[in-house]
Symmetry: C2
Subunit: 566 residues, 2 copies
């Protein structure tokens, strides 16, 4: 493609509303343009990269035995009501009505539609397994669209749905997708980890997220450097610490602790580590008051606490709640508070023999509080948030925490949708069972942004070979001298020859300064730059620059070979 024809205007200045590097550079390099909040038009360069990712995903899905279909973007709301997801999605679901007032939504995923189709077509154990996928635009009415493509409202996603006769089959389908995902992300050229995840509104039991490691990621995840344990921060667990020896413990004793700010201050005053303090967090659950207990150096993982209360509501106390409970002094709560209808504690609370904690009276704490003597626990659950350095639950090695961008997600759904949408099969004995489902998503437009986050410098983008919009950026620098005509002729010849080899070439044939051409080439980020200039042509060479490393060398003008080869 000649740049004199390419629909591209790069921007010299940073766009005002771009908060992250991928967004800033994709706008500056003319890959995308904003049409509305979280809604983008894909210009020629951007769309080429998107289609290359799409093709990698398609090839690996086909190789894994999944079959490509295309499901409607406009889906009957009635199906979503049957599965209960209409309500579960709430305002994130774009809704509309047709001229006859029939309700539709714009698909954020397609469990309902695909399940209802499989339910109609298949009905015997001989039909299973089957795995159907589509590459299609998805919709989510985000409250705060931001970070460009990373949290958009219209985005390209690959979603696959497997149907098996039993859990064993599901595990095989799931493993095949897991392996395909690993190959896809490796081919896209970025560092990723698969982490244990919470399933969110999709429902189901086992799920893992694939995270692209990135400083600007919206999600924290925990991982072990020693084994392959990794988990979303909300799903992360840690190994149990050793139980400390208790010995003889004096009776619990109240200590006056006025004007001491926070746990650190009290611990110092009492002469103990913060980890020897017992933190008591009040919450409301189904109209009653509960306490959550974690060591003083920990935070409560709210999601884990909610799960520990199986099915009940949960809301941490706010100022209004404390105002309504004057007998419960914020900052001085102790685990022996008599008004608690349920006490939930992290297993770490078992490891401390004695605790310093609140006394349930303002300006007072207690020391020598002992589990089973001075306070009791109703529910044990991993409710303490994981922190860097915690022991790995699998191997005991230290855990790390990093930020990541979620680019894929695999779920073992079970029978949630096949039950509600009647996708059943008859087994060899004539008995009916719901099909056992898995679902598997990849954010294709999000991968593009994640790769841009991980592959750029201050001058612009630097695409990995497999995803670049073009293989080679050919730059003619004819100058104003008598050699100019010869330089253009050589560049034209190289352009034709490389294309004849099947190499995709972006050819800067514009009548602009060399500086503008070099700056645009670095901004656009094609992996290999070839510069045809007057001096080089005089010496019979072309200069090659590798965008990612900045490495330069020269190639003979009359024997370029494949300039992509390193």
């Amino acid at each position: 493609m000649r740049m004199t024809s390419l629909f591209l205007r790069t921007l010299r200045d940073d766009p005002a509303d771009a908060e992250v590097e991928s967004h800033r550079l994709l706008l500056r390099a003319g890959y995308i343009r904003r049409v509305s909040a979280g809604i983008y038009a894909w210009l020629p360069l951007g769309y080429r990269v998107l289609r290359r990712i799409e093709q990698i995903v398609r090839e690996e899905m086909d190789a894994a035995g999944a079959q490509e279909v295309w499901l409607p973007i406009t889906q009957p709301l009635e199906l979503w009501q049957r599965s209960g997801r209409d309500a579960a999605y709430g305002p994130e679901l774009f809704r509309l009505q047709d001229r006859k007032d029939t309700g539709f939504c714009l698909s954020p995923t397609a469990e309902e539609v695909v399940t209802s189709i499989v339910a109609t077509e298949y009905g015997s154990y001989r039909d299973l397994p089957v795995n159907l996928y589509q590459i299609n635009w998805k919709y989510r009415d985000e409250l705060r669209p931001r970070f460009g493509l990373l949290r958009g409202r219209e985005f390209l996603m690959k979603d696959a749905y497997s149907f098996d006769a039993d859990l064993e089959g599901l595990q095989q389908s799931y493993d095949a997708m897991f392996d395909a995902y690993s190959r896809i992300f490796a081919r896209c050229g970025f560092v990723f980890r698969s982490v244990e995840a919470d399933s969110g509104e999709i429902g189901g039991d086992t799920s893992r997220e694939f995270m692209a490691v990135a400083a600007i990621g919206e999600d924290d995840f925990v991982w072990c450097e020693n084994c392959d344990y990794a988990a979303n921060i909300e799903a992360a667990r840690r190994g149990e610490a050793a139980v400390r020896d208790s010995g003889d413990i004096p009776a619990m004793e109240e200590v006056h602790t006025p004007d001491l700010p926070g746990i650190a201050g009290v611990a110092k005053f009492m002469g103990v580590e913060p980890s020897a303090m017992l933190k008591c967090i009040a919450f409301e659950t189904d109209g009653e008051l509960g306490l959550a207990l974690v060591p003083g150096d920990r935070e409560v993982n709210e999601l884990a606490l909610r799960k520990a209360l199986t099915g009940k509501t949960m809301r941490l106390f706010g100022d209004d709640d404390f105002a309504a409970h004057p007998e419960l002094p914020k900052g001085y709560i102790g685990p022996h508070y008599a008004g608690a209808s349920v006490v939930v504690a992290d297993p770490a609370v078992r490891s401390g023999a004695v605790w310093v904690t609140g006394s349930n009276r303002v300006d007072n704490h207690v020391r020598n509080a002992v589990l089973g003597r001075d306070f009791d626990v109703d529910v044990w659950a991993d409710i303490a948030a994981v922190a860097p350095g915690d022991p790995c639950p699998r191997c005991g090695h230290e855990l790390r925490i990093d930020r990541g961008i979620e680019v894929g997600h695999v779920f073992q759904l079970g029978t949630k949708y096949s039950e509600s949408l009647d996708a059943r099969y008859t087994d060899a004995n004539g008995e009916q069972h719901p099909m056992v489902m898995g679902c598997y998503g990849i954010g294709i437009s999000r991968i593009l942004a994640a790769v841009a986050e991980g592959n750029h410098d201050e001058n612009g983008l630097a695409w990995p070979t497999n995803l670049a919009p073009y293989d080679v950026h050919l730059i003619a620098v004819p100058g104003r001298g008598e050699q100019a005509v010869a330089v253009v002729a050589e560049a034209d010849r190289i352009y034709a020859e490389l294309r004849a080899q099947g190499i995709e070439v972006l050819y800067d044939d514009r009548d602009v300064s060399p500086g503008v051409k070099f700056a645009d080439a670095d901004l656009v980020g094609v992996p290999v730059q070839l510069v045809v200039g007057a001096k080089g042509v005089g010496r019979g060479v072309v200069e090659r620059k590798l965008r990612a490393t900045g490495d330069r060398d020269e190639l003979p003008l009359n024997d370029l070979g494949d300039p992509r080869a390193r």
Copy 2:
């Protein structure tokens, strides 16, 4: 693909709601499934064909210099209000609001979005021309979705938009698209004609439709067998008939004509041809009464009549109107009616010297009515609908009328959108002008249906080679004899060998009867069927059947070559 794995269940019975062959067969053969009225899911076979058409379109658009982009499906309604198309589209536009009550529509086309983007990026005559296209799903809330994919509410369309500095440039861009379309439709393997068309809600002046000739087409079109004249029935013109010699004409005379049904009866009674009768049709226009005059063997082309009244409303009289005008007797209207504020006549009215027509009194007609003596005409316009056998307006040869499916449309838009959305450029003298636009659509999912309409028989579909979901349908018929194992082994070997050659093979390896396999193969419509059976393997041959013609021959088992070659 092995049919034991393929997600496919063919239907033995005709679906109840399928009115046309393409719809009936695409459902029966498992290409598509209905999700809602006019909204379909594309199953593996259907999506493969759709993607092959998409790829042909993409290749020809790229070859013609157009650049692929992707524009949002969810478009801000505000842009549509600026162009005036929000109102023009009316209830056919799917509308929705986001959580902040911002209005959006689901794109039926994308003139507004693409024009606003080009307006932002480009501003100089040096930037032009540019032609951007996308292949994307489109939405139209049809009042009566029907005929399967032919009149759906969610459909795949290629839409391109050209931007030029002047009309000369537009003509070049338009011609390039016209040629690309001709190549695309030829590659898709169907008979098409490009016809003069009315531009509808898109606006603009010159436009042509590409029609696939098909008996079930929704649009009539007129074409000349002698020259390349062709037009949509609403836009069609005809050559002028020779003017009959008048000679001496007696005075106009009233004749009593009771109980004569219609023009044929009156003509017979009066001893003239229906073409010698003058038909007078009453209409309402901006609150006044008008008459439209055409020969008695013609119908009035309403669209042409409306255009002849430049900018005024037009509504043909109904029973209520006649009830309100008792002085104007329906069936007996004459052109000399004094209450008409405007009389519009087809040029054919000039060719008759004398006319038999209504007398404006019930049960009476007149003979010897003469233009200029007994009645006058205010507006001359081609308002008589074209009929088969009419002279071609270009060469005078007889015209034919056929039915067709509109599969493409090219428009010279001019400056309608560039004016309303401020897409201007500065010329070499520093003066500003609106860009001159063209737009070019192809219905990709509609092409698939049109090809199915033109390529089937009573047993099923018969795809042309370029569009078929697979190249070869390999059918194993192992039987129950001792040869069965050898037959399966041979079929497996052929399956592997053909795939190694890059041939796309659908392999019927199912444990079902030969009859079911043959019926499914004919229904699915892959162009070449290869049957591996016990007898053939014994003789060292494979039977080949060409689906479209039914021709059969045999190929040597050990030297199949490329079985696609005829």
